[in-house]
């Protein structure tokens, strides 16, 4: 069959041979270009999927270990003394009031939960407060540790009055659901 094609090809005029060869080379080049592009994309996709599957397998294989570590971390706390979002807000407001802070403002509580454990976070801003009030508030919060924790703290001199301070805190509490 190949010899028949060869005989057919060689019997053509030179310009026809050139044209046939040109078409074949062009078709192969276009196909190669398209195929190599798609193959590269496919290989990239395979790498990404392989990486995702490996990561997922790692997470799944560590599932019981992670759950155990969460249990172990929660075991350090007395479930009765942990605070839900409402109790956190009330407790922080009471400490601020005791410290003599005027007009503290809080953001809405952000909650992260797996059903059994929850972490509630709120941001508290205090403006134009004196150093002693802020310190008293801070010490009040620290006394409730580890049930109330400060995750971020920022203190700034008030622009209008250098004797006063503005403070911003991110405060969190852990809640352990009662069984």
């Amino acid at each position: 069959m190949i010899r028949t094609l060869k005989a057919f090809f060689l019997a053509r005029y030179f310009r026809e041979k050139l044209l046939l060869t040109g078409f074949a080379v062009l078709a192969a080049a276009i196909w190669l270009s398209s195929l190599s592009g798609r193959t590269r994309r496919f290989v990239r996709e395979v790498h990404v999927t392989t990486s995702s599957l490996t990561d997922q397998a790692l997470w799944i294989s560590n599932r019981s270990k992670i759950e155990a570590s969460a249990q172990a971390a929660a075991a350090q706390l007395d479930a009765a003394r942990t605070l839900d979002a409402t109790r956190l807000l009330a407790e922080v407001a009471a400490i601020a009031n005791d410290a003599g802070l005027k007009n503290p403002t809080t953001s809405e509580s952000q909650d992260q939960s797996n059903g059994q454990f929850s972490v509630h976070t709120l941001r508290l801003n205090v403006t134009r407060a004196d150093w002693d009030s802020i310190k008293a508030f801070y010490i009040g919060l620290q006394k409730r540790s580890p049930y109330i924790g400060i995750e971020q703290f920022s203190l700034q001199v008030d622009r209008a009055n250098a004797a006063l301070l503005n403070a911003s805190l991110r405060i969190s509490s852990v809640e352990i659901a009662a069984h």
Binding site: K17, T21, L53, E67, A73, Q76, I139, Q156, A162
Partner: protein, 378 residues
């Protein structure tokens, strides 16, 4: 009904286009050569012999030869160019091979002492082998087309007798005709029941056309062969690409199944990740305490009086970033040194130093050792 292209492909290639010239136009001689001579030596011997035998120079002859490697004899043949008309030679351009009719039977592979008789309407030719693969003699006699059977038989007997002792006489009742061959490296001729197979190298030597034209033809053939190989290479590459496409489709299905698996596991894994994050936060809240005022107190204890703190922000558990200003820029270096010498400080860095209206502002980043700070109680 016309055959389909597939049938045409299955039928194999057509026979090569061969122009067989009348034997009467040629004279031939068996020329002894050294056994084991190379083809170049044989070509040279043939040229010298024909120059000697012919009344015309080599450039005015159409000539060729038949020789097989190892033979001690070459059969050379030639014809005066002017015996062929311009119309006849013009037809040779479309032929792949041009040779005298008797040359077509030279590859018959006959036993020693064999004579082949080729009959044509205008004459008879005998080719005689005494030994070896190269014939020792080619004789031709011209006959009138109106010659009777008796006259033809008489001429045949005389030619066989003149050729020499023959144990076998093979009659080829029809002129040789090129046949489709099994490979491109050989040409097969059939004359009645007689079969002659000639290799492509022998066919090139038998071709009587002008040697310069032959060289040009060979160049064109090499060019065409190159084009054919490029075209075939491209076609084969396309076939390979088609296989790759099939493999890519198969691999795509496999990949799709893997992506579906990733999607199915995503919810479970995000829940585990969330649990991990939660566990970390609970662990941190339970065991670690951010002590920003304690950090500020340690830094402020080393602060020169001229330096004023404007803003303090924690960064992680053990780092505090303080924006400060001073009217005495020379104190910044000393302040940094003093902090570095404090036992609880792990690292001190000064950044973003700017001077404006004789007031130098800077950012102080202090990182404490994890166990250096104790919580304040009052």
């Amino acid at each position: 009904m016309c055959a389909s292209p597939l049938d045409a492909l299955r039928a194999g290639p057509p026979p090569p286009r061969v122009a067989l010239l009348p034997d009467a136009m040629f004279f031939s001689r068996a020329i002894p050569v050294q056994a084991g001579a190379s083809r170049e030596q044989v070509v040279s011997e043939v040229g010298i012999a024909l120059e000697a035998l012919s009344p015309f120079p080599l450039s005015q002859l159409y000539y060729g030869y038949y020789w097989t490697p190892g033979s001690d004899r070459v059969l050379a043949f030639a014809a005066y160019r002017r015996r062929f008309t311009a119309d006849q030679t013009a037809e040779w351009g479309s032929a792949q091979h041009v040779l005298p009719a008797f040359a077509a039977v030279l590859g018959s592979g006959v036993e020693p002492a064999t004579t082949i008789v080729l009959a044509a309407p205008d004459g008879l030719t005998v080719v005689h082998w005494d030994q070896g693969k190269v014939p020792s003699l080619v004789l031709h006699t011209v006959l009138s087309p109106e010659a009777t059977e008796e006259e033809r038989a008489k001429a045949r007997s005389e030619l066989i007798k003149a050729a020499g002792e023959a144990r076998t006489v093979v009659d080829a009742p029809a002129p040789p005709v090129a046949q489709p061959a099994r490979s491109d490296s050989e040409v097969v001729f059939a004359a009645g029941t007689l079969r002659s197979t000639l290799e492509s190298g022998a066919m090139a030597a038998l071709d009587v056309r002008d040697k310069a034209d032959m060289a040009a033809l060979a160049r064109a053939q090499r060019r065409d062969l190159l084009l054919w190989r490029v075209a075939m290479g491209s076609v084969l590459a396309c076939a390979l690409f088609a296989l790759c496409e099939v493999a890519l489709v198969g691999a795509g299905l496999w990949e799709k199944a893997r992506i579906a698996k990733v999607g199915a596991q995503k919810t479970t894994v995000s829940r585990i990740m969330s649990d991990q994050e939660l566990a970390n936060r609970i662990e941190k809240l339970s065991t670690e305490r951010l002590l920003p005022l304690e950090m500020i107190s340690v830094v402020a204890a080393k602060k020169p009086a001229a330096i004023q703190f404007l803003r303090a922000t924690t960064s992680g558990l053990y780092t505090i970033q303080i924006e400060a200003q001073t009217g005495n820029a020379g104190e910044i270096g000393g302040f940094k040194t003093a902090l570095e010498q404090t036992p609880g400080c792990d690292h001190v860095e000064i950044r973003d130093q700017l001077l404006r209206n004789n007031v130098a502002s800077f950012t102080l980043i202090v990182t404490f050792k994890p166990t250096a700070l104790a919580p304040a109680t009052s």
